[in-house]
């Protein structure tokens, strides 16, 4: 048998081999992250006026559609992010959250139109809109940290795309939870602020988390790597 230039690396990898626990299926991993989001929702519900929230949602069909759309986006984007974190995942998974996102944007835009037809509606002022932005961004920090800790366990070969879709899941989850403390109807300015908050979270996740995920790809080899010399 002729010696291959890769023999030393193969030998070192085999020598460093340790038993590993197989990764759970992406849907199960997404479910466990969504479980953490649900736990946060439960804690927030204790402090929020759930009765008033329920009345608001019942009174305006576009509102529950928007809540449903953002929640659906969070669920689908989380599943897509965990699928994309696998090294052999097709890029098409990134389209999975699209139906939820379309419903979310469409229902929220519908809410804006309602403000023009019903002059009595309480429109969020600039200060209140700023609070929305702070809420979404602040809540996104722990949710992102948890998500990327979990995504890091896999080996995403498209870290940028995985991070961006994960960021969308986080932003959508934070926007859904915002409804507990959002006692006003969506206006164009409010919608724009929500859009900015979501874009901020997705952008920040893509910029920071993609580096973390890339670094994790080669962090724990415990082997020497370098240029291969052919004989």
């Amino acid at each position: 048998m002729t010696a291959s230039p890769h023999d030393p690396l193969i030998g070192e990898l085999a020598a460093n081999l340790k038993p590993v626990r197989r990764l759970w299926r992406p849907a199960l991993r997404a479910l466990s992250w969504l479980g953490a989001v649900a736990a946060i929702a439960f804690v927030l519900a204790v402090f929020a006026d759930v009765h008033a929230l329920w009345e608001r949602i019942i009174a305006a069909p576009d509102m529950w559609l928007a809540v449903f759309g953002s929640a659906l986006t969070a669920v689908l984007a989380a599943i897509a992010a965990f699928e994309l974190s696998l090294p052999d995942a097709p890029r098409a998974w990134a389209w999975l959250p699209l139906p939820g996102a379309l419903l979310w944007v469409a229902a929220s835009s519908l809410g804006c139109l309602r403000v023009w037809f019903l002059p009595d509606t309480h429109v969020a002022e600039l200060g209140e809109s700023r609070d929305c932005l702070i809420f979404i961004v602040s809540l996104s920090v722990p949710l992102s940290a948890l998500l990327f800790l979990m995504l890091r366990r896999a080996c995403p070969l498209r870290p940028g795309l995985t991070a961006a879709v994960g960021g969308l899941a986080v932003a959508a989850a934070a926007a859904t939870l915002l409804n507990f403390f959002h006692p006003y109807d969506v206006a164009a300015t409010d919608l724009a602020v929500h859009g900015i908050a979501v874009a901020l979270v997705v952008g920040a996740n893509r910029a920071l988390a993609s580096r973390i995920l890339t670094a994790s790809n080669f962090a724990s080899f415990g082997v020497t790597t370098g240029p291969v010399r052919s004989n």
């Binding site: 291959s4 230039p5 890769h6 690396l9 193969i10 030998g11 990898l13 085999a14 020598a15 460093n16 081999l17 340790k18 038993p19 590993v20 626990r21 197989r22 990764l23 696998l86 090294p87 052999d88 366990r153 896999a154 080996c155 070969l157 498209r158 790809n217 080669f218 724990s220 080899f221 082997v223 790597t225 240029p227 291969v228 052919s230």
Partner: protein, 231 residues
């Protein structure tokens, strides 16, 4: 193999490792290849080679080093074939192999043995080959090969006396090392020059860790004294 009938290998070009380099590396070829990969991934029928590789990977996940080493050796021709199909230059082929071997090691816990190992490997190899091609293209866009300009470029910061000083200093170190006792020299060589850990050095030299530590400490003291005196 209960209940599963073996069919002709849908991944034959990969499976046999005899894929000829394409005369037309490009999008059309990649599409055909991707389609073939998808068919193979979705197919319920798997080749004997693929089933063997899956079993080896499952054993590797459990910590079987021999199976893992055999599997990695088996992967090398497949990775080279995929890299060639992607249009990776022959002189960079080994870089792709090294990258893919490291990725397999990092991502081995993400592999599901119920699915085709060959398809999993080929997708990873494809992505790593594309990453390398992008890297080559980026470097090619900003770097020029100008050997004459490199040779004639004046380095203003160069100190002609530095080489002589370094040669003198290394001569003094060699002389001081030669005057150490055999055990002290052995400890310096293993722990400092070869950068072995205490455990590794203890195995290679046959000394205890304590003895190695004491010998190294004494050797460094002697070397320090001799170097200070010679200055």
């Amino acid at each position: 193999m209960a209940g599963r009938m073996l069919q002709p290998n849908v991944m034959a070009p990969y499976g046999e490792g005899t894929l000829l380099p394409s005369r037309f590396p490009g999008k059309a070829v990649r599409n055909v290849q991707s389609r073939r990969l998808m068919i193979a991934a979705k197919s319920q029928t798997r080749s004997v080679d693929d089933l063997r590789r899956s079993a080896q990977m499952a054993a590797a996940q459990g910590g079987d080093r021999a199976a893992y080493e055999a599997l990695l050796r088996d992967c090398v021709p497949l990775i080279k074939a995929v890299a060639a199909r992607q249009g990776v230059p022959a002189d960079r082929n080994d870089d792709v192999v090294q990258d893919v071997l490291l990725t397999i090691h990092r991502a081995r816990h993400t592999y599901d043995p119920t699915r085709s190992f060959t398809a999993w490997l080929c997708v990873i190899a494809e992505r790593r080959a594309i990453d390398l091609l992008r890297q080559v293209r980026r470097h090619g866009a900003r770097e020029f090969h100008l050997p004459l300009a490199f040779d004639t470029y004046p380095d203003e910061g160069v100190d002609p006396a530095r080489g002589v000083d370094q040669a003198e200093a290394s001569g003094r170190v060699t002389e001081a090392l030669a005057r150490l006792s055999p055990r002290q020299r052995e400890a310096v060589e293993a722990l400092v020059l070869k950068e072995q850990s205490l455990t590794e050095a203890a195995v290679t030299t046959g000394r205890t860790k304590g003895a190695l530590k004491v010998n190294l400490h004494r050797a460094l003291k002697v070397l320090r004294d001799k170097m200070e005196r010679s200055e």
